[in-house]
Symmetry: C2
Subunit: 420 residues, 2 copies
């Protein structure tokens, strides 16, 4: 089965927005056993959209498009597709009622232009939009005139805004795909997220030992991002679940504490979960990461129950007043030193009555480096009920990468301590 994804939108090709649809939709499909063969991005104009859809339909069983279903003049997708397929558009009373209700609920006047969103091509199935006004449209094209063998294809049109598209995709599109294109055999996918080693080192540790599983049909994939490497274990067939489970067990034995999360979990959600499970609290003292560790932890619902406070102490004064770092330490060793990190972590823990105090101090750059302490120098400290430990790291990257990698190392330090 071949799937293609077409993202429409001139703002994508002008580089004004990031194409988050691609990653999100491809991931949803891949986790269910469907791989997208090609993704295409074209501008909002008629010829570009029609050409791309025609070419994709000629090659594919399923074509998904995003964008161009709204009410403004550059929302052309619905019209162009209906025209190309020779399917007249007609207003759908249920959709119109839903749009009218949407505005009434929000006590806003309904512009006449939005009614265009109730137009549905003949024979199309309407996919409800719970968070906006433009419904999705699913069209079975059988026979498909663009294919040499005329076999049927599905074409599914989805709205552009992520908060409209994502629930529609999960609630309507995935069920339709599973029903219309059932997998011929069971599919099992498991992703283990690791941090602390580069891709080639992870591969070196597991590729050899996994060899027997590969010959049984396991597919092994790696994905390296800054500061993390995913290991993806996939199998199809009657014994898929057993193969993946055994392979996962082996990877976990080989990588041990390098595995920080599975599936959609993250390092930060793992830390919040561990703190919650152990009924422990955390106070943060961040210098060079500037609030990123607090931001990542507070992205996790429920973080408020375990995070007592986060202190972004850039200045020496803030380190002294808020954390009790000693002036002599700053004079003798500087704010970027193992001693300062130690005192920051202990100050955070003791002053704010937390079970754990986690602190980072370093030089993010681009300025501020010296020969002895170049840009990228970092000290990370963790104060626990039992002890305080300090790690020195060297992260000579651009500012934002430096912040992320350092936050990753700090979160991993407390994760390992909580996992012991």
């Amino acid at each position: 089965m071949r799937i293609e994804l077409i993202n429409t939108g001139s703002e994508l090709l002008l580089g004004r927005v990031l194409n988050t649809h691609q990653q999100w939709m491809c991931r949803q499909l891949a986790d269910c056993g469907y791989e997208v063969a090609r993704q295409i991005c074209v501008a909002d104009d008629g010829p570009s959209i029609q050409a791309a859809v025609r070419e994709s339909l000629a090659r594919s069983d399923l074509v998904l498009t995003t964008g161009g279903l709204g009410p403004t003049s550059d929302d052309l997708t619905r019209d162009l597709i209906a025209q190309m397929l020779g399917r007249p558009l007609a207003p759908d009373p249920n959709v119109l009622a839903r749009i009218t209700e949407y505005f009434a609920q929000r006590k806003r006047p309904m512009p006449a232009s939005v009614k265009v969103q109730a137009l549905v091509p003949a024979g199309a199935r309407v996919l409800p939009n719970l968070h906006g006004t433009a419904p999705g449209l699913a069209i079975e094209i059988d026979p498909n005139p663009f294919r040499d063998d005329k076999t049927r294809s599905w074409l599914i049109l989805l709205p552009g805004p992520p908060r409209e598209l994502r629930p529609m995709f999960s609630d309507s599109v995935l069920p339709l795909v599973l029903k219309e294109f059932p997998l011929s055999q069971p599919f099992v996918c498991r992703t283990l997220r690791t941090t602390g080693l580069g891709e080639s080192m992870v591969e070196e540790k597991i590729a050899g030992p996994l060899q027997p599983f590969l010959s049984q049909g396991l597919r092994l994939g790696y994905c390296a991002r800054v500061g993390e490497v995913d290991v993806r274990l996939v199998a199809r067939g009657a014994s898929a679940a057993a193969i993946v489970a055994q392979a996962e067990g082996l990877v976990r034995r080989l990588l041990g504490p390098l595995v920080v999360a599975t599936g959609d979990a993250t390092l930060e959600s793992t830390v919040v979960q561990l703190l919650t499970d152990r009924k422990k609290t955390l106070a943060l003292a961040e210098s060079c990461t500037g609030g990123l560790i607090a931001h990542r932890l507070t992205n996790v619902p429920g973080a408020s129950a375990v995070l007592i406070c986060g202190l972004v102490t850039y200045s020496n004064d803030a380190k002294k007043i808020l954390l009790g770092v000693r002036q002599e330490t700053l004079d003798e060793h500087g704010a970027v030193s193992a001693d300062a990190a130690w005192q920051m972590a202990e100050g955070a823990r003791l002053r704010y009555a937390a079970d754990y105090g986690l602190a980072v101090t370093g030089i993010a750059g681009p300025g501020g480096g010296t020969a002895q302490k170049p840009v990228g120098t970092v000290f990370i400290a963790l104060a626990t009920p039992q002890q305080t430990i300090v790690q020195e790291q060297f992260n000579p990257f651009d500012r934002e990468t430096f912040k992320f990698v350092t936050s990753q190392q700090a979160l991993d330090l407390i994760r390992r301590s909580l996992s012991d």
Copy 2:
């Protein structure tokens, strides 16, 4: 002139990574007057890459590819392209010397596999890689056998890692494009970033008055992201600079303080700049944004000189101890209240001797909402040397969107105060 961009990498189609290359490269080209007509993403396998490159070359004057130039077994692009174009690969002694030096500098042994990166297709130009080992390759295909009219095309192969690709693109690719495909007339592009109004409201304010400029050749574009709308003014021709400058002046008069930055500047960089220029300092007190405001500000180099401290005060205790919020206020009005926000901002300003104190308190959700204070309720307060002001906002979005929109409103509040 037609440009297409091909991103190779199975991890993109499995949704494991976000395609940041697309946005970044499209933006660089658009800002110089070149628009990408189509972007395509294909997997790492031979037939997919060759088919995509062949199709793009048949349509385009310039084709850019990313990825697949490294030393591992799934890095196939160089080989496949050389084979497709019938250009034998030969080792380039300069590239090999550079790779050898790269490993020597890092005192790491050089694996034999990396030598493949020194292979260059006959007639290709080598684009130096200052941050890695795989050089880029630029190939003039003249005549181009894939085009009906056989006119020449350029094919440029770039490495996948962003920190290798980006400097190579700026230093080598853009100059090559400007030289080989000179613009027939001057091009001027100006992007004004706004916050505080939705796309349709921004359009309503400026589209009519800009009409006369449109008939003189101005192109007007909008790009809406969560919490911000960009207005893009573009013109070509001898009077392009004058038209864009006049249009910008008009937009600035019409939108007034809604314009927060131009070009690559951001709301947060504007705030850091304003604080720096006015020699003022800031202390933050964040509850529901959880450190995001501090994180955004500290992404800006030089933030350390103006940000005294950021306090992430989730718990009531932290609000009392760190900011002096009164127990009676918490009892009577709750932590999410105008009074609490007021005291947080004043506490941040006075206790940490900052010129400005900026505070947010609200309900990010998904839990914690009540009938009176539903999820999305936010109070933002700013304490200045002259006065303290509080704004109530309602941001009923998912947790991460809520945090971003709230941080945007808070940063805009201090920006407006500093701009007065």
